[in-house]
Amino acid sequence: MNNFFEKIAELFSTPAYIESLLHGFLLTIQISYFAILIGILLGTIIALIDVAKPSKWLVIPKFICSVYTTIIRGTPMALQLFIMFFVIFAFKGFPSIITAIIAFGLNSAAYTAEVIRGGILSVDSGQTEAGLALGLSQRTIFFKIVAPQAIKNIIPALGNEIITVIKETAIVSMVGMYDLNMAAKDIGSGQNMASYIVPMFVAALFYLATIYIITFIVKRIEKSLRKSDLRAEA
């Protein structure tokens, strides 16, 4: 155990190791940030198509969306990443960071779509009917009545999805990208510290700190959205 703390001290007192970790951390953040953006944008579109009233124009889009979410949610992320890297974007010189962002973005979109769909459906349909009875347009009903309430329900689950994406990006080290996880592997390899445990532990602290900050921000947003909600103070 003593050895463990000595090695932690060694890691933190070697600038090269810290630099590697920070570089890895930057890549992790880059991939997660854009993946989450793509996820939210594409996820919103998929969710809106999914909850839209059935019409002959939407038969094919609805079918595509349901196949998409089924496939993405039904296969492991690691496999999707491999297919993206070695089949779909198997061009020489194609930047791997873009491939990774797309892979994680498409994956996140499927989950985000379900989160948003759930949020929209959680608003009682009676409210839409009431709006229609008052002579409001579909647009006004959605943007002024349904969406504000849906967002309140979506935010906590969306925060959860963001956290999942950040942690899941650790698998890009499988395709040789230098993310936080790979930095830990590098520091733990033979010519450096020759032990994985300590660098992995420190990398875990980096993830934990990031996710703690994100949880904090999500909680703040949640709180401000629940200002009028009695439960918020309890």
């Binding site: 590697s20 930057l26 953006l37 960071i97 230098y178 390899s189 010519q191 020759a194």
Partner: protein, 283 residues
Amino acid sequence: MHKVKSTIFIMLFLLVTVGMGVSVWWSIDGEKGADYVVETNVPFAPFEYYENRQVVGVDVDIVNRVAKKLDKTIQVKNVEFDVIIDNVEAGKIADAGAAGLTITPARAEKVNFTIPYYDSVQYVIFNKNMPPSLRDDHVVWEALADAKLGSQIGSTGYLFVEDEIENGVLAGTSTTIKGIDSHQLAADAILAHIIDYAVADELAAKFIIDKNPDLEALPLYYSGATRELDYPVEESYAIAVNKDRTELLEAFNEVLSEMLTEDAEGKTEIDRLVLKHMGLVNE
């Protein structure tokens, strides 16, 4: 007030997005436009390892020499070890693989190998407190019977052990082999009592025991008729080249034969490079 807040929020969001976009753009800039792509698997010091997040090592030095000879740019890319041969065979994302690859018949069917440039032996890494039964300064296959073994998945150590378990010295024993992500993780697995012994290439094993006082590594031998006749588990490293890239194969062969010529002291350039990259440990 609410308007101001959301304006600030949107501004901040745009600022972060643009900043992130620029940083991604920078990292892409260094990646494109190479004539050839050579795949490798880090860490496998001294042949390839990270130094300041750049892949360096003996293999990279060889690749750079070839690039200079051909007057082309070659990008060295880090991937999982067990996909290298398949990627080189497909030739879509990689033209060659330089990862201390051992020539095996199965691999030679898929890719062209250059002339061998380094001979290695397999080592057994074990916990000093729980050594296998030793024969002088080496371990024979029989000593590994009924043990839980581990090795980097897809590496020759792994293939050798699999072979011996299926129809070799270890057939019929309850020996098991676990494929682990890297040699280093296999060493950590010994200390965590997940496996008993790890089988790794000589230099990788030496790097590992150098930093882990609890571990020891000795060469792995096939047992001969007598103790003196035991012979080591040897292999030769070569570079795998896609079967359609003959110009690349020729260039590699030329460079390698230059680098394998012995100088006045009887040392080749490859030997010197190995020593140079090993030397980083003591710096």
